[in-house]
Amino acid sequence: MLTDEIGGLEEAREALARERLEELQALARTYRNWSVKELAHALGRQPGRLVPESGMPKIDLVVGLAKALDWPVEAVVDHLMKPASAGKRTAFQHDTAADYARLYNESLQKRLGRDYAEAIRLAVRAHAVADTPTRRVAALLIETQAHEAIGSYSEAVRCVRESTRIEGAAAEWRLYADSCLAHLLFMQGNTTHALGIATSVLEYGEKLPATIVTRTTRMLAHWSRAHVLRSAIPVDLNAAWRPLASSARDDFRAAQSIGAELVAEAGQNPTYFATFVACVDPLLLELDAICDESCAEDSVRRLLGMVRDDEHGQLGHGERKAWSAVSLSCTVKRFTTDEMQRRGLLEIASAALRAHAVATSNWYFAHKHLELDAERRRTLAGNGVASRALDAVEAKLVAGVLGQIPSSRDSAAEFMALYGAREGARA
């Protein structure tokens, strides 16, 4: 019977969680040099009740354990709940090492065709049959990109980290993995590490010959570093920030120039590079306004035009609109003084970001939309107007942002207060 099977699965999960909980508690005791009593005190439990009878711990116990181990809570949860794995993926059916190139290329094609689930499946199969460290890295990186495209940033980061731990891979692929990591960390708001990794990649990358992989790596590293610098510039500007804006501008221009060369060489399918090239222009407009305030009005006008641009078919069009919206909101906050105009422009930017985020599960843009939306909700609450209840799409956006963008969790309580309130709920 199905119910018996489900019951059996639940029991197996509980047994696994109990065993892993004991293992992690032992590890925490070793790490902190604690006795059982000290561990129990730290976890807020009686020494005899460190492992619940059901095996399934309450969240406060997990949080306490993560704190004791100096691990992320997510890592503790994963270890408690994930079934044991042999660590090596087994080859699918009759796949052999000779199939690697075919599987790799098919995965790329599926991703470009937006069939991300299939792209991931093929990348996993390619990884399973990869017979060299470099091939394993390459397979993990196309899997990373498919996860990112589907909006699963945590899985993307897991894959790319796994690829950076593979020993013996070609230096150019190792650096490419690093630049992918820098990009993902920026998207997740971990900008300190993103800046460090991107800069190291650019430093070491100079020593390698210019292949398509090293040039893509450099493009991505310039892009990530530029974004980290751009996003550090606050709304309340002063002249001290101009050199930083200028550095970010140089990085964006370098990314655009490398990208344009790669587009020209890519032949039939330059989507990946073309997207980067297309997205740089609006970001440069934002930085131009910071470097020279007299450009601000023109920047806002042109950015608004880009956000409203409906010229479909151009490669990277949707992404370009979304970056234009990000740049528009930042530029408006910095330079537009008329309150009504400001609110109107921010509404337009917010709507464009929301549309793109919903269509593509891009949580970075969703986060930017929610930040703008939260500002509006705060203003409305300040004016005594009750904010409307969330619709299903918005609720998924909030959950996705909190789940996939760790930096947004700094404001988790505020987001919950703004969006988690059950106004408008019915029985």
Binding site: I59, P234, D410, R422, R426
Partner: protein
């Protein structure tokens, strides 16, 4: 000599960990989102996650992982992600002065986790472009506290490119000194010997800065210990005066923080000198090592100050590596407590490469778990 009581400088908490009330209220927040996903219908939400309406309407106790698993699946989140959302600590807005005070305290506490969080906070809300340089230096110090000097030197090089504010001179000098001396003395598991050029340049830039503003008793003792330890050996022979001076510093240490630094620096310097010292100096060095280790053990038994443990673990690891280098390890004599000590060291200093003779069962497990825990950010 044995320390009691609190230190004059303790790290002011920059974080308020989620309390049980927070966990409950945030779970209610997730339930609110779930209801929104079900177009406002609580009945549908309850049915979707198989949690009864009464529990959903009136959640008062901390939920189990199973309950969170059901809610998170319905919201399209993995369980780990939802758990992070519930457990995330609140970072209160801090002034620039408070942030710098916290950095100085975390440096003195050798607290890599706090340093990493402070670096992220500086980078996320910089008040001046030079804050980005300071953020990278704090990240370097965090890497140094984990014993990962390659990561530290790379972050220092970036910090130098980004620059520092003149007003942060004293803090920059303190962090640079910590990186310099810890790199020289306290990370024998990395192949690089001698000062890193980037860190040396940073020290040179800040040499003239007055440390008065960030000074405290423990910081003074730590600095004195490093400087003595740096002049420990001369032409392969151990100098008598530094050994006596280090012993005096240990005697003068009145708090756990002071003792943790003075004793660990003394032991690490003596261990380093052991490798190349003349035979006639060996006994004096061994006596200093034993004395310092005993002082750390006794202090930790009295006061479970985390700094005492992490410094003691660093000394233990350095000692294991020194003994391995001298061919003194007999694998058959490694007992359970040795295994625990090595496992602890592998957790505190994840990039330390242990020689084959020291890879005991415990450290193998740690190596395996490292992949799961993503501890190395």
């Amino acid at each position: 000599m044995l320390p009691t009581g609190a230190d004059p400088v303790m790290p002011p908490s920059m974080l308020r960990p989620a309390s049980s009330e927070d966990l409950v209220s945030r779970t209610n927040g997730l339930i609110g989102l779930l209801v929104s996903v079900c177009d406002g219908s609580r009945f549908q939400a309850s049915k979707l996650v198989s949690i009864d309406r009464r529990t959903m309407d009136d959640l008062r106790s901390v939920p189990t992982l199973r309950m969170i698993d059901r809610i998170s699946s319905a919201l399209g989140l993995r369980l780990g992600e939802a758990a992070e959302v519930l457990a995330s600590a609140q970072t209160p807005r801090a002034t620039a002065a408070e942030t710098r005070q916290a950095i100085a305290a975390a440096d003195l506490a050798d607290d890599a986790v706090a340093l990493d969080r402070l670096a992220a906070a500086l980078q996320r809300g910089p008040q001046h472009p030079a804050d980005l340089g300071l953020a990278q230096l704090v990240r370097a110090r965090a890497a140094g506290a984990r014993g990962d000097m390659p990561a530290a030197t790379s972050a220092v090089s970036l910090a130098l490119e980004l620059g520092f504010a003149r007003s942060d001179g004293a803090l920059v000098r303190t962090l640079a000194e910590a990186l310099h001396y810890e790199g020289l003395l306290a990370t024998p598991w990395h192949a690089q010997r001698g000062a890193d050029p980037g860190i040396a340049r940073l020290l040179e830039i800040t040499r003239a800065v007055d440390l008065g503003r960030v000074h405290c008793e423990a910081g003074t003792i730590r600095r004195a210990a490093w400087q003595i330890a740096d002049g420990f050996t001369e032409g392969g022979a151990c100098r008598r005066t530094p050994i006596a001076q280090l012993e005096e510093l240990m005697e003068a240490s009145a708090t756990p923080t002071q003792l943790a630094w003075s004793a660990s620096i003394a032991a690490l310097a003596a261990l380093r000198a052991c490798i190349s010292a003349h035979e006639r100096d060996q006994n004096r060095l061994l006596a200093l090592i034993v004395r310092a280790e005993l002082a750390l053990d006794e202090a930790h038994a009295r006061d479970s100050h985390p700094l005492l443990l992490v410094r003691r673990t660093r000394v233990a690891l350095a000692e294991w590596l020194t003994r391995a280098a001298r061919g003194e390890i007999d694998e058959r004599t490694i007992d359970v407590s040795d295994e625990q000590e090595l496992s602890r060291a592998a957790m505190w200093f994840p990039t330390a490469q242990l020689p084959r003779s020291l890879r005991v069962a415990g450290t193998d497990k740690i190596q395996r778990l490292r992949g799961i825990s993503h501890v190395q950010a």
